[in-house]
Symmetry: C2
Subunit: 249 residues, 2 copies
DNA sequence: CGCCAGATTGATACACATCAATTCTCGTGG
DNA sequence: CCACGAGAATTGATGTGTATCAATCTGGCG
């Protein structure tokens, strides 16, 4: 996923692609990597355009908390982060949207979290007003959006338990498993997870410090739970043991 | 606390009232008739029922995490709590739904948090399948549900910052203000907030222990930020100071 | 009045943060 | 190809905020 990063010192580039709203209503899991969509390349009339495909380079801000919530997004490839920073610099990351994930839907006027690119990230960018129109005419669109939202809600709620009640070790274990699962690595005995984000991002997601994350990973390595082939490649050696930690058994 | 417990050794009681789905979406009025009282956690024919008004006594479970998510709810009066408990007994409360709040919507098959009555709580109980039908025929219902869901999502995300990055003092300040605001007490210089939940509930909502909550409240009292006329009536003496704490300035 | 669950307060422990060096990684240019 | 930075990660020493353990205290109720 770092292949395209360099060329992306350029700011976000908007293609002229038009995407059908159907992409939102697809009944099947959206977690499939879909590369360049069918090139419909119809008229560039912005009014006819429902979704544009946009790529943001690593670390670029997609939108700021407080911005008018004019667009919503669906990730095609790469990883983003949704975060909030206090006045004195403390940061909390709410989620790392990856391929198939939806973000930026706000019913209020403004976004209440910022969105940034962890790696170079390609998204479908929807004009919210258009999506609302589509929902009005097509109930299945509503259902799809509803499903996406409620799955986001469930994730956020699960994360509350992690932040409120889990130990550092449990948080890290939960994080590794969550990432492994969503990478599609289905509990194969020994899977290797690639972590696109750095230690600070992980720490801010887990409500810990970089040092604690690092120490915890080192301890897990020492105990044989994981192996670290490189700083961002983790092999899960003892899935069951990690599961036990993650569920706070 | 045992005031009503006796009369309420009985399980939740379903009144004969029929509520139109209109409560969820102003314009329409699907009418159904359903008078069967029936005790227990169900007992009425769900197929005929769009929304029944049900009252749960203090501390009764409305549904369990993992139950099939057949109903969703809207609070008419009283306070509920949405919580999750780990195998070893740690508990996290995600929210305290009060009048007007919607809960129990899950797109998955099962609830992923339990719901319990903090005080006696009266709710509108919707058969989800019916709501889904209504959404299919009336887009405004979808919009309404969507708005409710996304506001829940925003609250949950805000709470992530609190649990992940705030100190005990900041958490308690944020909690008091949140409760004061949602009680409609509009920043009158000195407002008194009534807390329907006990210290354990507060602690489990804020990711702290009872002792820490208690100590923090005592310290705030000592410093003149608040007054405690009784254990569950807090007067906010210095709103601005509390706001400063709550926003982690 | 006296019970008892809930709340407060106190003493101490400990998990994680903070402060402070290294060590690792990797991109860059000689 | 290797030296060289410089940021990122790790590791170490120490501090501290909150948990834990343990008494009281309080207020509603029989």
């Amino acid at each position: 996923m770092s292949a395209m990063m360099d060329s992306a010192a350029v700011a976000a580039r908007t293609t002229g692609l038009t995407r059908p709203i159907a992409a939102l209503c697809e009944p099947r899991s959206l977690k499939t990597h879909q590369t360049a969509p069918a090139h419909g390349r119809e008229g560039t009339d912005p009014l006819l355009q429902v979704a544009a495909v946009v790529t943001y380079p690593k670390n670029q801000t997609i939108y700021y908390e407080g911005d008018e919530a004019e667009y919503s997004f669906r990730v095609l490839s790469g990883t983003a982060r949704l975060c909030k920073v206090t006045e004195d610099g403390r940061r909390q990351i709410a989620a790392f949207p990856t391929a198939g994930d939806f973000f930026g839907w706000a019913d209020q006027e403004t976004y209440n979290f910022s969105a940034e690119a962890v790696t170079a990230v390609t998204v479908e960018k929807y004009v919210r007003r258009r999506v609302e129109e589509a929902m009005r005419s097509d109930p299945s669109t509503s259902r799809r959006v509803l499903a996406l939202l409620s799955s986001q809600l469930a994730s956020a709620q699960d994360h509350l338990l992690l932040l409120g009640r889990m130990t550092a070790e449990e948080r890290v274990a939960a994080f590794l498993l969550e990432w492994a699962k969503q990478c599609g690595d289905t509990r194969a005995a020994k899977t290797t997870v690639e972590l696109p984000m750095n230690r600070r991002d992980i720490a801010d997601y887990l409500g810990l410090t970089i040092e604690t994350v690092s120490r915890t990973l080192s301890a897990m390595k020492r105990d044989g739970l994981i192996s670290l082939s490189s700083t961002d490649h983790v092999r899960l050696n003892r899935w069951a043991a990690l599961e036990r930690l993650a569920t706070a058994a």
